[in-house]
């Protein structure tokens, strides 16, 4: 996985602008029936101009959350404010929020220009001004002159951009994106990801982006909220989420991870199989545990004497059980005495390539091994 490499520059100085919450979700809850909690007591603050990604597997409540912010679903409990304005019970058509749907939801009986102009018309914007703003919006999404076409005459990517122009032309206070890239093919998705991020930053519009794709969440967002079974598992910068997951679900869901069963011996020491490794037990001092380590944080060297390895590094002898060539990386499955570690080596930097059955030494830094209680 190359999540790290794909990441765009995120503004480092979050603290300068980011303290004032613009969108505030306080205790947002959606209950269905007697006791099914689709979204359970969610607290999220999004500073002005920031892009929040809601990341999680299907059914985790991320789309429900988005629809509650939009007003398309009633909230069971809680409070939503935009810039101090309580919109918790405002009807959706008065919320002044732009929403881009997964299937674009363009009006099939209207031209592109009529689609984009619809929100302006609802706001009573005059004809000439509306025409200028529509053309301006279409230029922004790089579709100038497409106004007279019908949505069905356009490709998926173009329809997506029309939907974006239609949502943005009304200059909403908040932009919501519901899995906007999931219906596009891989190449187009990469382009759109960059394009959406650029537009969002240019307009400095506060945005909530729902996705099940961790690459999208990590590369595009200022903040990522990982959701699991209706609850917020972790909220933080992409780097926090990836490097410092707060629970096993986040470690497992975001990026690829080896998860090994073990037992905590003492603070920052975990026993896996016969060996005890220094690690980060995150304050835990005892009990059964799961240790997580990213495949690309494990370095491989031809088998040699353990004593040559620095004591500051964890090491385990192993035997290659499977070699998978993926193109940019080679993936090795390595048996380290009962447990299998999946590791990845970049093909360009690979000094040595290993064969199936070969013995080698796996090394990793203690801080790259996160241990969670189980």
């Amino acid at each position: 996985m190359q999540t790290q490499e794909l990441r765009q520059e995120t503004p480092a100085a979050e603290t300068n602008t980011g303290d004032q919450a613009f969108l505030k979700l306080k205790g947002i809850t959606k209950r269905y029936g007697a006791d099914y909690m689709a979204v359970d007591d969610l607290d999220i603050d999004v500073p002005k101009g920031k892009l929040l990604g809601l990341l999680g597997p299907s059914g985790c409540g991320k789309t429900t959350t988005l629809r509650m912010i939009a007003g398309l679903l009633d909230i069971t409990r809680g409070k939503i404010t935009i810039d101090g304005d309580d919109i918790s019970h405002k009807p959706p058509h008065k919320r002044d929020i732009g929403l881009v749907f997964q299937n674009y939801a363009l009006f099939p009986h209207m031209t592109v220009a009529q689609n984009v102009a619809f929100g302006l018309e609802m706001r009573g914007v005059g004809r000439t001004e509306a025409r200028d703003r529509v053309e301006e919006a279409l230029e922004m999404v790089r579709l100038p002159g497409y106004g007279e076409r019908k949505p069905k005459e356009m490709s998926g990517g173009q329809q997506q951009r029309v939907a974006l122009a239609r949502a943005l032309v009304i200059r909403p206070r908040l932009l919501l994106l519901d899995e906007p890239l999931s219906n596009l093919d891989a190449k187009l998705r990469d382009d759109m990801r960059i394009e959406i991020r650029e537009i969002q930053q240019r307009l400095q519009i506060t945005t909530v982006f729902v996705t099940h794709d961790q690459v999208e969440a990590l590369t595009m967002c200022d903040l990522v909220g990982v959701m699991h079974r209706g609850k917020l598992a972790q909220l933080g910068t992409p780097e926090d989420i990836y490097e410092r997951p707060e629970d096993l679900f986040v470690a497992d869901f975001v990026g690829r991870t080896n998860i090994l069963d073990g037992e905590i011996e003492a603070l920052d020491r975990v026993r896996i199989g016969a060996s005890v490794y220094p690690c980060n037990t995150r304050g835990l001092t005892a009990g059964k545990a799961k240790a997580a380590i990213r495949p690309h944080r494990i370095s491989l060297t031809p088998s040699r004497d353990r004593s040559l390895v620095s004591m500051a590094t964890n090491a385990a002898h192993g035997k290659v059980t499977r070699v998978t060539y993926i193109g940019d990386v080679v993936q090795y499955d390595i048996d380290i005495g009962g447990n299998t570690l999946t590791t990845e080596v970049h093909t360009a930097s690979a000094g040595h390539s290993f064969q199936s059955g070969e013995k080698l030494l796996c090394e990793w830094k203690p801080q790259d091994m996160q241990v969670f209680g189980s």
Binding site: R95, L99, A105, L106, F107, H109, F118
Partner: protein, 263 residues
Amino acid sequence: MIGQLTIPFRLLVACIYLFLLAPILIVLPLSFSNDSYITFPPESWGLRWYAAMFSHAGFAQALWISFVIAVTVTILGLAAGVPAAFAIRRRQFIGREFLLNLFTAPLLLPSIVLGLAILLVFVQARLLGTYTGLIIAHLIITTPYVIRIMLTAFSTLPPSVEDAATMLGASPFTVVRRITLPLMMPGFIASAALSFLLSFDEVVISLFITGPRLRTLPVEIFDYVESQTDPMTAAVSVVLVAATLLIIFLIERTLGLSKTIGK
């Protein structure tokens, strides 16, 4: 595939068409007969029976009655069927399935059974031979079709377009007017046309409940054929077929039109 049809297959298709069109192929020439009784082929030709038809008070009046009833049934059928279909498709409530089955059950009943049942009820209610009675009876036949067609129309509405309009600031009423109704227009036209034709053509149930002073056109034709054997019925039939074709043609044009501007 087309263009590669084998000769036997073409013959089969031709036979099927011939079978379907046979009544018209006989009735059309017959209507231009000048004979006093039905013979095929006619011995003399002319427009005598068309003239007779238009001066025949019974047919002219029956045509008007049928038209008024069909228009009323169409309007009332849509007024009842569209909200019913909307509720069944969009709302969650107890007894939804039951209502759907109840509303569409008349589709499964033979007309003769339905006619008899309606007769028994209408005798008591003193509705025989009245406009109200005929309209109610026809509604029982047409509304299930309207509901069926509109259910399909509601489910083919593209997902989220109504939500999209809402988010752009459209009130619920505006959403219906600007988005839902235009997109459902083909469904409206189809169910309106079908209601009109079903009511206009209805014979079996109408036979049970028409009276001496209120007879629909199909009933009038039916009675006329029983007592007379002149070719006037052929002329009436041709006029009916022509009117039906006109309606179908109009639908095809408007639906075709809405397909080019919609979807």
